[in-house]
Structures are given as C-alpha cells and as structure tokens.
C-alpha cells in the first residue's frame, strides 16, 4: 500500500478543514483528487507531505508513519505545491542542485541532468527561474519534485493556469511519470481526471464523498440516462410517455429530442420498439454519457 489514510482530520482553530477522511492508494496507481475550491484538497495533501500535522487520525506512506519516520517519508515523497513556490532569482540548474543537495543525493550532477531532461527543460536550462513562462516554471516545480526519484508524487493542481499546449505537455509528463510512481494529484478541472487517472476521490467541505473508478462513479452517482433522438416526422410525445413509463422530455427542437429517465438502461429498447411500431424513420438515436461534471455537481451540491 503506497498511501494509507484513516480518519484524517484537521482543524484550523474551530473550523474543520478536513473531516475524518480515509482512503488507500495502491502502488503505481494514479488518483485524481477532486473537489471545489476550499474543499480541503490542499490541506489533505499538505498533511500527506508533512507540511501540516493532522489534528486527528493517521496517515501512512509506504508503511511509514508521520510521528516517527517523517524524515524517511520526506525522502520518498515528491511534492508540487499549488502556488509552485520556487526561488525565482536562482538559475534552474542552481536551484535543482540546491534541492539535490538538501536531499543529499550522491550523484548530484547526474540527478540534476536527468530531472532537466525528463521535464523537458533543456532549451531553457540557462535561464533564471523568474524569466520562465508559467508552463516552464511548472516543469521546474515538477523537476524538483522528482529529482530524488521518489516513489510517491503528490501534485497540487499541477495544470491550473496553463495554456492548452502547456497543459497537454504537462499532462503527458505526468502520464509518463505515472508508469513508475504512485501519483496523487488534485484538480478542479474535470477533463484532467478523465484524461489521466484510474480512480477519483471527490472531497467536499472536508469530507470524502466518493472514492471509486471514474465509470462507476458516473454510473452509480446519478443512475440517470439521457438519450438523443432525431426522427424524420414529429414524435407523438404523449403516446411515447404512456408506452414507456418514467420518461421525461428535456429538450425538443424541431424533430430532435432529448429524453431522460432514471433506473434501467433497457428502456432504450422500449423506446426503439415504440418508434418502429409508429413507423418512424430514425436518423439518430444516441445515449449521452454522463459527464464527470454532472457527478461532480451532484456530489458537491
């Protein structure tokens, strides 16, 4: 087990920022940590990196606990903070070799070189950090997080504020890193989760509201189906509703309809049979996927 969290709680004064959160993450998994702003994502991640101490509950990383083996944990965890703090008046290589020094890496030059190569910083390597664009700064942030070859990577909003090209680059980089490491990353951009991870943790107001594979979450959280239909002639909607119970018509434009129902996916067959019996010419009949957006909104309302 790479990360094991049980009953993690954090108070700031009287305010509960994180409330009794428990989850486990296996080795090699890439997990998205999702939630609206202020839900407690960053606080949880800070507790997993040892920046903050938990008020209650336990967190273990690679079987090491924070009370006694904090130093050991720090060697095994790489962290990219939300604001990506860096010493901006340093040169990239200077900064990375400083980080390598702090980690007491033996083969320092090689480690710096490797981090620069892996994060695609080679064209900018002789610049000072404050001269870099946001995308390249993010790469420097990632480079300092992976320089000591940690087994666990914790990335707080690694793609926020990047332009679409940078976003694709960083996403590819994270994907590549995930082959050899356990990764937890937080985001409120839902496409990111769909693009990158196997599993989602959704947190809202400090509480874990969902922990599952993406497909499962989208299916079970809503149990709602939507279908788009286009026919040649207008459908008699009243007749359709009586023939197939529990249908709702969400939208109607000319001969295009959007229907929805709860419960069973097999209703699409009944709809088809009804249309055929009525002699309709069907141009299009398509199930709409529930998006993570829908789930997210429902779970975090």
């Amino acid at each position: 087990m790479s990360i094991k969290v049980s009953g993690l709680t954090k108070y700031f004064g009287k305010q509960k920022a994180v409330n009794n959160v428990s989850f486990e993450i296996k080795k090699g998994e890439i997990v998205g940590f999702l939630g609206p702003n202020g839900a407690g994502k960053t606080t949880t991640m800070k507790m997993l990196t040892g920046i903050l101490e938990a008020s209650e509950g336990q967190a273990e990383i690679l079987g090491l606990d924070f009370q006694n083996q904090k130093a050991e944990i720090k060697k095994q965890v790489g962290y990219l903070a939300e604001a990506n703090p860096l010493y901006t008046d340093m040169y990239i290589e200077e900064f990375l070799s400083f980080v390598a020094n702090v980690h007491k890496i033996e083969n320092k030059k090689e480690a710096v070189q490797l981090a620069i190569e892996r994060t695609g910083l080679i064209p900018e390597r002789n610049k000072k950090i404050h001269q870099l664009s946001k995308g390249f700064r993010q790469r420097v942030g990632l480079a300092q997080a992976i320089i000591h070859d940690p087994q666990v990577l914790i990335l707080d909003e690694p793609v926020s504020g990047l332009d679409p090209n940078q976003l694709i680059d960083i996403r590819a980089l994270i994907k590549e890193l995930s082959q050899s490491k356990t990764i937890v990353f937080s985001t409120h951009i839902l496409q990111e989760v769909q693009a990158l991870c196997d599993r989602v943790l959704i947190i809202n107001k400090g509480e874990l509201v969902a922990d599952d594979q993406i497909e499962n979450i989208t299916r079970t959280a809503l149990e709602k189906y939507r279908m788009q239909i286009e026919t040649k002639a207008a459908i008699k909607l009243d007749a359709l509703k009586t023939a197939v119970s529990g249908l709702k018509v969400i939208d109607k434009k000319h001969q295009k309809y959007i229907l929805s129902w709860n419960g069973n996916i097999s209703k699409r067959e009944e709809i088809f049979q009804f249309l055929v019996a009525q002699g309709h010419v069907i141009y299009e009949m398509k199930m709409e996927q529930n998006t993570v957006e829908d789930v997210f909104q429902k779970l975090t309302q």
Binding site: G50, A71, T88, N101
Partner: protein, 244 residues
C-alpha cells in the same frame, strides 16, 4: 544544513544585498573613524580603536535588521518555506543555517576593519603602543553582539511576511535590548535598589564588560542565552504559528 547555508550566502552575493551591506558598513565606519574631525582617530591623538567599538554597534543596529529582514519574510511571501518543509531538513537546521549565513555576512564586513588595527598599530608612538588584549576582547564582544542582533533579526523576520515590518521590529528590538535597560535602570522606582540587575539585562552592559578585555564566562553565557532564546522563538514561530 550546509546546502541551505550556501544557498543563503549565494543569495546575498547574487543580489546586491551582500555588497551593499559590506560597503555601507565600511564607508560609514571609515568616515567616522578617519574623516569626521569630531571623532577621527587622527585628531584624537590616542592610539586606540575605541571609536570602532562604540560606533559599530550603532551601525549594526540598523544594518543587521536590513540583512535579516528577508530571511523568513521572503520565504513566507513566496511560499518557499513549504518547499523546504517537504525536504528532508528540520526546522532547527533551517534556522541555524540562516543564522550562520547572516552572521557570516556580518563577519565578512568586519574583516576589513582589521586594517584599522594595523594602521593604528603602526601610527602608535612608540610603534605598537596599543592595548591589544582589549582590542581582541572588543572584537569578541562585537562578534557576540552581532550574533545577538542576527538572532533578534531572524526572530523578527519569522513574525511577518512583510519585510518592512520585520525590519522595523528587528531594529526596535535591537535598540531595546542594547540600550533601553541602561536608561530604564535610571528610573526612580529602580534606581538605588535594583538598577544593577536591570542594567545587566541589557546587552550593552555585557558588551562593555567584554570590551575592556575581560572575557568573563558570565558575559559569554549571557550572550549565548540571548542568541538561543531568540533562535528558539524563531523556530517556534516558523513551526507553530506560521504566517499563511
């Protein structure tokens, strides 16, 4: 710890801070000791470095806070303290590394003043007619005093993410611990009763005692206590009551 120390030293000399501090310190001391007729050694006609050891604490009182003010304030501001905190390095090591880095810069500024010693030594009549013991004591005193001011400055810097606030607080605390107790002891409620104890709380009492060339273990213990108290408070500030 050494890596953070070297990083701090580098940042002094890769920005202008290091050079400006050394330059201002030396120009100011040089002017007062050799040029301004009211204080000048050349007009004074005695072979001593008294001026140096009277003026240097005053210069340190605003120069050291100017050096230390960025130590933690800047890290709070940029969020880089969290970066350090995720690395395998303890808060104690961070505070000590910054303490020694700042102290090194001050000592670096102090080294060229050895030239003044040599000059006065040569100018003495007869040559070398100079109380070397007192001067060695004074240098030890000055180094300990600088270390106190650095510790105070680091503590002030750990209180705020605003560098100006850190500077003003540090300058005030340095002034207060250096001077205020001597004058407070003159208040009627203390005078004649506990004024000697009040005076002993101040840094100047111990500094002057060492300056006489009398390196007393009580004075050394006093300085070390002050330094460790402020460094400890600084460590508590950055761990417990961190500025967000």
């Amino acid at each position: 710890m050494i890596s953070v120390y070297l990083k701090e030293i580098n940042s002094f000399f890769s920005s202008l801070v290091g050079y400006i501090v050394v330059a201002i310190f030396l120009v100011l001391l040089g002017l007062i000791m050799w040029v301004f007729p009211d204080f000048s050694i050349l007009e004074y006609n005695f072979a001593s470095l008294n001026q140096l050891f009277i003026i240097a604490p005053l210069v340190f009182m605003f120069l050291i806070p100017a050096v230390t003010m960025r130590s933690f304030s800047e890290e709070y501001q940029a969020g880089t303290l969290d970066l350090l905190r995720t690395k395998p390095i303890t808060e104690n090591q961070i505070v000590l590394a910054k303490f020694f880095a700042n102290l090194s810069l001050v000592l670096f500024a102090l080294i060229p003043t050895l030239l003044y010693y040599y000059t006065v030594y040569e100018l003495g009549s007869p040559r070398g007619n100079l109380d070397t013991g007192a001067i060695i004591g004074s240098y030890i005193g000055l180094i300990l005093l600088a270390a106190c001011f650095v510790a105070i400055g680091l503590f002030a810097s750990s209180l705020s993410k605003n560098q100006i606030v850190a500077f003003l607080l540090a300058a005030f605390l340095c002034f207060f611990f250096y001077w205020a107790f001597f004058y407070l002891s003159k208040l009627p409620i203390f005078y004649g009763r506990v004024d000697d104890i009040i005076q002993k709380i101040g840094i100047d009492y111990h500094y002057e005692s060492i300056s006489r060339g009398l390196v007393d273990s009580r004075d050394i213990i006093y300085f070390i206590t002050i330094i460790f108290t402020f460094l400890w408070a600084c460590k508590v500030m950055i761990t417990e009551f961190r500025v967000r």
